[in-house]
C-alpha cells in the first residue's frame, strides 16, 4: 500500500459524478460507492448517476448529502418506464461485449449515457465498472477528469475485455484498483502511458456496536455461499477443531445462490461429518456487524478475493481473522501473526491449526483482536475518501496541462482504438471460425 498522497493545490470544492450500474440493488460496489460518495459529500458536490432504476428506493438506503439520479427506468408501473423504447431491445454498441453486464445494456443505454456524459458539468467523472469506464473514455465531453475504478481484478476479466480495456483506458486520467496487486497488474500488463494507476482500498465504516469481547466460543464467517468462498474447506477444518475443542462452534452467515446447490452441498457435508451440533448456516444478515461481535474469531477460506471486504469488517469489529493467503486482498489487509493469520490456500490442516492456535490461547486471541481493531482503522471511509480526494484534486489542478497534452494523445488513442477495434473484431471472428472448425 502506498503512503498518503500529497494534496496538490488548494482544497477547492469539486463537482464529482459517479456512474454506477444500478444504485437501487445490493452489492459490494454499490455499498463502497455509497460510502465514498457520502464521505466526499462533506466537502464536495457529489452525485451518483445510476444507469438503471428498478425500484423506488435504494435497497441499501440513499447516501446522505449525495444527489441520486438515474438514466433508464425499469419500473414497469412507473409512468417513465423505458422498457417500451424500441432501442431498449437492440444490443449495446458502446458498452463492451466483454463486460459481464453487456446483456443488460442496449442502444438506449448507449444514448442515455452519452447524453449524460456529453453534458455533464462535473469536474471529475468516475466509472465504477469496466463497461462504464469505456463509456467514459468514449463519450465524456472534453474537460472533466476521467477516473475508471476497478472493483474486481484485471486478471478476472476475459481476454476479450482486457484487449478492449488496453486500447480504451489510455483515454482515462486515472485507474484506481482496490489492491496493490491489481494496480501492479494494470501497470505491467496494460500499456497505459500517462494514466495514473493507484491502489485505493475499499472503505469500511466503524461498526455501530461495541467490539467483540473474545469470550464467546464462536467462530464466524460471512459471505455469499458460493464455490469460490470454499466454505467446504472451512467446514472440514472445523471438524478438526471440534475434535480438539468440542466447546467451540461455527456460524456461517450468507445466502445461497439462486440454485441453492452450494447451500445444500454444505448441509450435506455438515451432516456427513456429524457437525450438526457445531456448524450452523445462519442465512443472510443485514447489517452484519452485530453478527461478527457474537464471535471471537473470524474465518475466510476463499481461493480468491478481489479485495476482502469481510476481512476488514470483521477486524473493525475487533476479531482476529484467519484467512487463506489467496490473491489479491488478504495479505494487504492482514499482517500474519500480528493482527490475524494467513494460511496457505486449500490447506484444511493449516486452517484448523490456525483456528486452534487462537482458540487455545486466550491472551493471543485478545491481543490479535485488539491489533486488528487498531490496524483496520486505516480503512475508515474518511481516510479512504481523502486518498480519492487527493488524487482527484491533483488531476483537476493539472487539468489545463494534462488536457492540452491529451488533445494529441487523445486523438492518437481514439484512432488507435478504432483501428484496434476493427483489427480485433476481425481477429476474433477468425478465431471463432477456427474454434468452430475444431469442434465441428
Amino acid at each position: 500500500m502506498t503512503g498518503p498522497l500529497k494534496i496538490w493545490g488548494s482544497r477547492r470544492r469539486m463537482h464529482i459524478s459517479f456512474l454506477l450500474h444500478n444504485a437501487y440493488g445490493i452489492g459490494g460496489t454499490i455499498r463502497t460507492t455509497f460510502n465514498l460518495a457520502q464521505a466526499l459529500a462533506e466537502r464536495h458536490d457529489v452525485e451518483i448517476v445510476s444507469v438503471f432504476r428498478h425500484r423506488d428506493e435504494p435497497q441499501l438506503g440513499a447516501p446522505a448529502g449525495v444527489r441520486l439520479d438515474y438514466l433508464v427506468d425499469l419500473r414497469e408501473k412507473s409512468h417513465g418506464y423505458d422498457g417500451g423504447d424500441e432501442r431498449f431491445k437492440l444490443p449495446a454498441k458502446v458498452f463492451p461485449v466483454g463486460d459481464g453486464r453487456h446483456k443488460q445494456y442496449s442502444r438506449l443505454t448507449d444514448a442515455r449515457i452519452a447524453t449524460h456524459l456529453k453534458s455533464t458539468e462535473a469536474d471529475v467523472v468516475v466509472g465504477t465498472r469496466p463497461g462504464l469506464n469505456v463509456h467514459i473514455t468514449r463519450q465524456t465531453r472534453r474537460g472533466p477528469v476521467r477516473v475508471g475504478q476497478e472493483h474486481l481484478t484485471l486478471a478476472g476479466h476475459s481476454y476479450r475485455l482486457r484487449r478492449e480495456l488496453s486500447h480504451r483506458y489510455g483515454l482515462l486520467d486515472a485507474v484506481t484498483t482496490v489492491t496493490e496487486a491489481d494496480a501492479h497488474a494494470y501497470r505491467t500488463r496494460l500499456k497505459l502511458p500517462g494514466v495514473r494507476i493507484e491502489a485505493v482500498p475499499n472503505s469500511v465504516p466503524a461498526p455501530l456496536v461495541a467490539p467483540a469481547d473474545h469470550d464467546a466460543k464462536w467462530v464466524v464467517a460471512a459471505g455469499r455461499l458460493t464455490r469460490v468462498k470454499r466454505y467446504d474447506l472451512l467446514v472440514e477444518a472445523f471438524a478438526k477443531v471440534v475434535a480438539a475443542r468440542p466447546d467451540w462452534r461455527l456460524r456461517i452467515y450468507g445466502s445461497g445462490d439462486a440454485s441453492g446447490n452450494e447451500k445444500n452441498a454444505l448441509h450435506a457435508l455438515i451432516g456427513e461429518l456429524g457437525l450438526h451440533n457445531h456448524v450452523f448456516l445462519m442465512g443472510p444478515a443485514s447489517p452484519i456487524e452485530p453478527e461478527w461481535v457474537k464471535g471471537s474469531i473470524a474465518a475466510v477460506t476463499s481461493e480468491h478475493e478481489s479485495f476482502g471486504m469481510t476481512i476488514v469488517e470483521a477486524m473493525r469489529s475487533g476479531l482476529p481473522v484467519v484467512s487463506t493467503d489467496c490473491p489479491h486482498g488478504p495479505r494487504e489487509i492482514i499482517t500474519d501473526g500480528r493482527d490475524g493469520r494467513l494460511v496457505p490456500v486449500g490447506d484444511t490442516g493449516a486452517v484448523a491449526d490456525a483456528l486452534l492456535g487462537l482458540i487455545n490461547d486466550d491472551e493471543q486471541r485478545r491481543a490479535m483482536g485488539a491489533a486488528a481493531l487498531a490496524s483496520s482503522a486505516r480503512f475508515d471511509p474518511e481516510h479512504i475518501a481523502e486518498r480519492h480526494e487527493a488524487l482527484f484534486a491533483e488531476l483537476v489542478s493539472r487539468g489545463g496541462n494534462g488536457r492540452s497534452r491529451s488533445r494529441i494523445h487523445d486523438a492518437l488513442y481514439s484512432s488507435r482504438g478504432a483501428v484496434l477495434d476493427g483489427a480485433y473484431s476481425l481477429r476474433y471472428k477468425a478465431a471463432s471460425v477456427l474454434r468452430k472448425g475444431q469442434t465441428a
Partner: protein, 281 residues
C-alpha cells in the same frame, strides 16, 4: 435525467438485549411529552396484550425506551410502534442495529421458577417485532446425537422438580391418544437425557407424514394428558430455528416398518422440538 425525490423515513430502532431479558430501544427523533413505544401482541385482544414504554430523550436527537426484564410479556410475537400522543397515529418501526450478543449462549439461573426470552427481530415485511417466550418450567434442548435409528437428546431443566421416574413423551400431532414413552435420566445438576427409537414412531400407520411433538412428563401421569413440559430451544439469539438447526434425515429400520420411512428432529415455528417421519408411497 431524473432525480429521486426525498421521502420521510419511518422511525428506526437500534436494540440492545441484555442477558436477563431486558431490551433497550434507541430511536432517532425529537422529544415530545407523549412519545411512547408501543408493543402489541399479534392476535391479542386484552389490556395485557399492549405494553406502552415511555420514550425519553438521551441527547443527540435520540429517544430511548426500556423494556425491563421484570415486565412480563406473554408468549408470542409483539409488533413495535411509536406514537407521539393520544391523537397521533401509531407508526411501525424499522429494525436498525440489533445487538443481541448477550443472548447467544444464555444460561439463566436453573432455580428460577420461570424462563422469559425476548428477541427483537425483523419481520418478513421488514418491521421490528419482539419474539417472546414465557415458560415455567422449561426444558431446553441441547445437543442431539444419532445412532442406529435413534436420536439421543441432551437438555437442561429450568424451574421444574422432575424426579428420576420422569419420562419423555412423543405425542402424535392431531391424535391426542397416540403417545410413545421413553425413560429420561434427570441428573442432580438439572441436565437430562433420553434416547428415542424411531421405529415405534413409524409402526402401524399408513400416513405419508407424521409429526411427533416431544414433551417431558412425570411418570405417574396419564400418557398424553399430564401437564407436561414442551421441549424447546429458546435460550439464544436465533428467533427462527427451523432453517438454521438442521439434523440428519435417517432411514427408519426394523421388522415393524413395512415401507421405506425416514425420520429427523426439527424445530417448529415456535422453536419447539418435534420429530418428523416421512413414508414413501
Amino acid at each position: 435525467m431524473n432525480t429521486t425525490p426525498t421521502r420521510t423515513e419511518p422511525p428506526r430502532a437500534d436494540c440492545i438485549a441484555d442477558s436477563a431479558g431486558g431490551i433497550t430501544f434507541d430511536i432517532v427523533g425529537e422529544a415530545s411529552p407523549g412519545a411512547v413505544l408501543v408493543l402489541r401482541r399479534r392476535g391479542g385482544t386484552t389490556a395485557a396484550d399492549v405494553v406502552r414504554l415511555p420514550l425519553t430523550p438521551t441527547g443527540e436527537g435520540r429517544l430511548r425506551a426500556v423494556l425491563p426484564s421484570t415486565v412480563e410479556l406473554a408468549e408470542g410475537r409483539w409488533d413495535a410502534f411509536t406514537t407521539h400522543g393520544d391523537d397521533s397515529a401509531e407508526q411501525r418501526i424499522e429494525p436498525g442495529i440489533r445487538d443481541l450478543r448477550s443472548l447467544v449462549d444464555r444460561a439463566p439461573d436453573p432455580h428460577r421458577t420461570q424462563v422469559a426470552v425476548r428477541i427483537p427481530y425483523p419481520t418478513v415485511d421488514g418491521r421490528l417485532a419482539v419474539r417472546c417466550w414465557l415458560r415455567a418450567p422449561h426444558a431446553e434442548a441441547g445437543t442431539i446425537g444419532f445412532s442406529h435409528g435413534a436420536m439421543t437428546l441432551e437438555g437442561r431443566l429450568y424451574g421444574a422438580g422432575l424426579d428420576s421416574g420422569a419420562v419423555a413423551e412423543a405425542r402424535l400431532r392431531g391424535a391426542r391418544k397416540d403417545v410413545h414413552r421413553v425413560p429420561v435420566t434427570v441428573r442432580p445438576d438439572g441436565t437430562f437425557t433420553f434416547t428415542l427409537d424411531y421405529e415405534p414412531l413409524a409402526e402401524g400407520r399408513g400416513d405419508e407424514q407424521r409429526l411427533w411433538d416431544l414433551w417431558l412428563c412425570p411418570a405417574e401421569a396419564e400418557p398424553g394428558q399430564a401437564a407436561g413440559i414442551r421441549i424447546g430451544r429458546i435460550l439464544d439469539d436465533v428467533w427462527d430455528k427451523k432453517g438454521v438447526f438442521r439434523y440428519p434425515v435417517l432411514p427408519v429400520e426394523g421388522s415393524r416398518v413395512t415401507r421405506p420411512t425416514t425420520a429427523y428432529p426439527y424445530f417448529t415455528v415456535d422453536n419447539d422440538l418435534s420429530v418428523r417421519l416421512d413414508t414413501l408411497r
